[in-house]
Symmetry: C2
Subunit: 433 residues, 2 copies
């Protein structure tokens, strides 16, 4: 006999057994309903995209490290999607003439990234993506911030549990080019800042030096990084578009009663190169788990990969692994989520099996969940055991006598009650209970 194959899934991927799936369906369906309340429409793209689509945007090397890619038989270089935004941009570009702005889209899809599996990070993950496209200025920015806070509120999370840290790429550029007067590409410096929390102070300083900052400039940058937004604004040029956008955003947030959720943080830069304006990260505030949950920002040029036209957009992606951790950490998952009441029809050899199938149809006809035991054992004890372990609430018993008399016994396994009813009226009797 051939060697047995391992029963575990590929490293960094998950099998979703019924209880896992109930949980995932519960929160994704809640999210779907929430997104619909904001009039976002669900979309979906292909699992595979041209490798160039991702390489064009994030740099080929970075992409090659994280992306599962290969050539098909037609020698097309393909990638399993590692993120959604490029696909959204492609889809918008594909129907540029038919779509009306603002475009409000969301999607929930599976993605692959070659990662070392760790807490909150796997190779296969599901992600909610939310984008609003075609809106200049900050109207879309405040909408997305409001969307995120309201969504987390909808799950019962309050301002003691999370914070939205906000910055702006244009503002960051102004800091580098106009305050520090360094002519290095701000993107290079931002990458060091993005990694600051993960590397040693020495490494951070060395990185900045390599990026062309003198010791003096590094000291100034440190000082600026610790400033509040109002303080920083005073030393920015009066025409700083980034500062203006952030001001507007904070003003609107205050009017909407969202200020307690927001925090200015110049260190929020986001790793992806395509962000151009507002950038934000949602932070878990629980002491044992302090970290960025997810983030997003404004991108102005993505459509430009496909069309000569430009269309601005802002959006975010939220992964299932980290979101589920967040809900669990803060006790936001209700007991017995997604489980509905089920009925099991017990089976006895003295009644033709098809009669049990007929019986189960009677209960399903009114919208109840009902299965026939179907297992080999006709021992009632075994069948009750199965029903209890598989969370069936009721057992429907129709032995030989009951079948002959046109009756059924309905047993409530939760409350240890049972009733002998006419088969004809049993369904209605139970519904009335």
């Amino acid at each position: 006999m051939a060697q047995l194959l391992p029963a575990r899934p590929y490293v960094g991927t998950r099998d979703f057994y019924p209880e896992d799936m109930r949980l995932r369906n519960w929160y994704f369906n809640k999210i779907r309903k929430f997104a619909a309340s904001f009039c976002y429409e669900e979309v979906q793209g292909p699992l595979l995209e041209s490798f160039d689509l991702f390489a064009a945007k994030s740099g080929e090397e970075l992409v090659k490290e994280q992306v599962y890619h290969f050539y098909d038989k037609g020698n097309r270089h393909l990638a399993i999607r590692p993120e959604m935004t490029p696909t959204v941009a492609r889809m918008v570009a594909g129907r540029l003439n038919d779509l009306r702005v603002p475009i409000r889209w969301f999607s929930i899809a599976n993605f692959m990234r070659y990662e070392r599996p760790q807490k909150g990070r796997l190779r296969e993950f599901y992600q909610l993506n939310v984008d609003i496209l075609g809106v200049e200025g900050t109207r879309a920015d405040i909408e997305v911030i409001d969307f995120i806070i309201s969504l987390l509120n909808d799950f019962g999370a309050d301002s003691s549990m999370f914070r939205v840290k906000i910055s702006n790429r244009r503002l960051f550029n102004d800091v580098i080019n106009d305050i520090l007067k360094v002519d290095t590409d701000a993107m290079i410096i931002s990458k060091a800042i993005d990694k600051k929390a993960k590397i040693s102070p020495e490494k951070y300083t060395a990185w900045l030096k390599e990026s062309g900052l003198s010791d003096e400039r590094i000291g100034e940058l440190d000082e600026i990084m610790s400033m509040g937004f109002k303080e920083l604004k005073k030393i920015l040029p009066a025409d700083s578009r980034g500062a203006e956008e952030l001001s507007q955003l904070f003003d609107d947030a205050e009017k909407l009663g969202l200020s307690q959720y927001l925090e200015f943080d110049l260190a929020v830069v986001r790793g992806l190169e395509y962000y151009t304006g507002t950038v934000f990260e949602v932070y878990d505030l629980s002491p044992e788990n302090k970290r960025a949950l997810f983030g997003g920002g404004r991108y102005d040029n993505l459509i430009g990969l496909f069309k000569k036209e430009a269309m601005t957009g802002i959006g975010f992606g939220m992964g299932d692994v980290i979101f589920q951790d967040f809900l669990q950490t803060h006790g936001l998952i209700p007991e017995g989520v997604g489980a509905e009441e089920k009925l099991l029809v017990a089976v006895f050899p003295e009644v033709p099996y098809a009669e049990y199938l007929k019986l189960s149809k009677e209960w399903r006809a009114v919208g109840l969940r009902c299965a026939v035991y179907a297992g080999a054992s006709s021992r009632i004890k075994k069948q009750i055991q199965f029903a209890e372990k598989e969370n069936y609430r009721y057992l429907i018993i129709m032995g030989g006598d009951e079948f002959a008399n046109g009756t059924v016994t309905v047993k409530d396994l939760q409350n240890s009650e049972q009733w002998l009813w006419e088969r004809k009226t049993a369904v209605q009797n139970l519904i009335k209970k």
Copy 2:
């Protein structure tokens, strides 16, 4: 500037724009609800599996033709799942000691196969998979047949639209080995029969001859293929397990009133090698579209790839592309499916933008779908046009005067009516309409 990338998706894959997604969500959610009514639990497996998992079962060569496969950095040979059953078997094997039979599982997932894209067949497709495991005999078989017919009934399909063609692998073996007395592996002959409709009669005959059948035997086989089940049963050995299983299945189906949907057809063999007993195919009866929609069968040995134990199962997979075609062909998709009433808040420059966001929250708070226009134009005509084209039912107008007076105008875009209401009571007024 770099060359523009194509905006179309990878060949054989699809972009799901909002209207496509509404349709898919409608029927998959309906299916989810239906499966729950039969007490099937939703599960999900990983996108990537070990290549061996598929090669072990269907033969490496066949798999290499159809499966997207590659090596990861750890030199693991991986495949993008082309089907679900091996994953289900792996998941069952992984928790063999904790799972209680009968196991009733379903899943809806995306798959990839390297196909020449054609009507009803694409490279990326979604598939419903339904399996019941751990039930010997025919109880699970009749349940799955009932499940399929009831599911199609639930979508409004009746016996004029589809037929379930049934056979049995064991019965087929008995035909080959006991009636024709040919000692060729019945699987080899079944492959010719599986392809009969797609190849010329000459090619078919030549294939059978290569498989070891004489002209005489081929003539006998033709005769047997045209027999009804009762006629065939008479010439089968009395202890034919396949004949017994089929008899039981047809008897149960008759008691359940399903006979008009069923048809015995010895030509139903299914391509996959792992089937061992009952096999079936669902046929579209529309004259312009006569073909197999989907199928399935019983497999007894799949768990054996991973564990020494065996567990029997029966199931089917139904692809979205072909199912959607079926619904469309028979006019079973309701008008405006999945679209819900939406409200759009119009925007005017004389009122602070945040006030419109606040207003939209008031409407969402009662469960309505509401968005703020957010576009650049403040012309009411433009905003009405956007609302109409994007299927918003109501426009909420709060200009400078209304804002000052605490009122809003609600415009019903479908019936060209409008009302001026106190802002405080507007939500309740509309709900009462």
